[in-house]
Symmetry: C3
Subunit: 164 residues, 3 copies
């Protein structure tokens, strides 16, 4: 990453990476897509929605390859960033991606959770730089809602006030 990229706003970095932020996906049941408590935003579980459809369905190690799992996790992260924008108003007000809880839909014997979830982690690092560093949980899930390949929840810290 060069210095010019480093100094870009989060929105400009997204554009540079060729990512057009989708509208924040709505909740699929009786809950909210994110909530704020103090300076923390907690997102609901983000699925790999793309243009209103689940872009990656099935289990990693069966219908979904590790590479596809990586792309699924990346898509979950794109949707999480859209939720954070809705929550913070401006992505430059995101002070830190604090934690990513990662759930991988796994077929028996699949062990590539870390590689799959790097699809989310590496995007957060690319988009938010140092502010994209985060702790992470990675577990396998036998039956995922809507048969999604990956699901992530994000805990992020935001600024008290807009950056002046």
């Amino acid at each position: 990453m060069n210095q010019a990229f480093f100094n870009m706003s989060v929105e400009a970095k997204l554009m540079e990476l060729g990512i057009q932020l989708p509208p924040p996906p709505p909740a699929v049941a009786a809950y909210e897509p994110w909530m704020r408590t103090g300076n923390l935003i907690l997102t609901s579980g983000q699925l790999p929605w793309k243009n209103g459809e689940l872009a990656f369905s099935g289990k990693c190690g069966a219908e979904i390859t590790e590479d596809q799992g990586y792309q699924a996790a990346r898509q979950c992260a794109i949707n999480a960033i859209s939720q954070l924008k809705a929550a913070a108003g401006d992505l430059d007000r995101v002070r830190q991606i604090v934690k990513v809880d990662g759930y991988v839909h796994t077929a028996p014997g699949f062990r590539g959770h870390p590689q799959v979830l790097n699809g989310a982690s590496e995007l957060f690092r690319s988009v938010f730089g140092e502010r994209g560093r985060h702790a992470r949980l990675a577990v396998g899930i036998d039956e995922m809602p809507l048969n999604a390949a990956v699901q992530i929840c994000v805990t992020a810290e935001i600024e008290d006030y807009p950056i002046s």
Copy 2:
């Protein structure tokens, strides 16, 4: 919901809904049923205990139907509310149900996680109104402690001081 219901205390709403709050279920091992940090209460995993017994055992999609799973999630939420009362002293001091982490004990191929967990989410909304809105995680679990049908953890924000 009519205006009179809207203005009721949380305890009065519970009574109106025919819910008698049980004593907070004790932890089943070497941990606490809830902890406070700052203005946040974090509950331990709540199981569908009722009168000292697990009211719903088995896997959703096998021994447990989706409707029974909904009732199981509702019972978990009743127990969580009892923990919040123990934690906050008074349920009217609960400022917000922030997040519900929902774990559904799933048989192979079960996909009704959202419907099952609505049993908890809808109760929180009925009892706490706007303060009952929350973010949510929903995943399936292959082997649940004590064979419980559902488990939820609740993150809630409480007031600094009693409401005067």
Copy 3:
């Protein structure tokens, strides 16, 4: 526990228990081993690493007995304490172990999650005393990263400033 033990520093208690704190295990992928937000430390999922190797691999109820699962959870907790030391600088600055999210790698039919995770919970209580009390989640996981027997995430509250 006698009064002398009660008054010991956390490091002295570890020594008394015969526990030599290892260096904090590095993350196995593109994330951080812990993050701080406000007064909270959130650790990444801690695995039962010992001397650079996973000390307990496989599923509880199959390759791993309940007793070995207990030891695995204890080892996860030792690694978590090492992360907390790195985060807080001094373990006496840990004000409270707030929550332990426990994930047990389970073979079909295994129900001993609470006993297994007590290996972590009891160590936190021994080492931190009242400050070691915590809420807990316990679920079974069908496919765990690296085939680890247990994984835990810890949420802990630390002091604002060093204790003088």
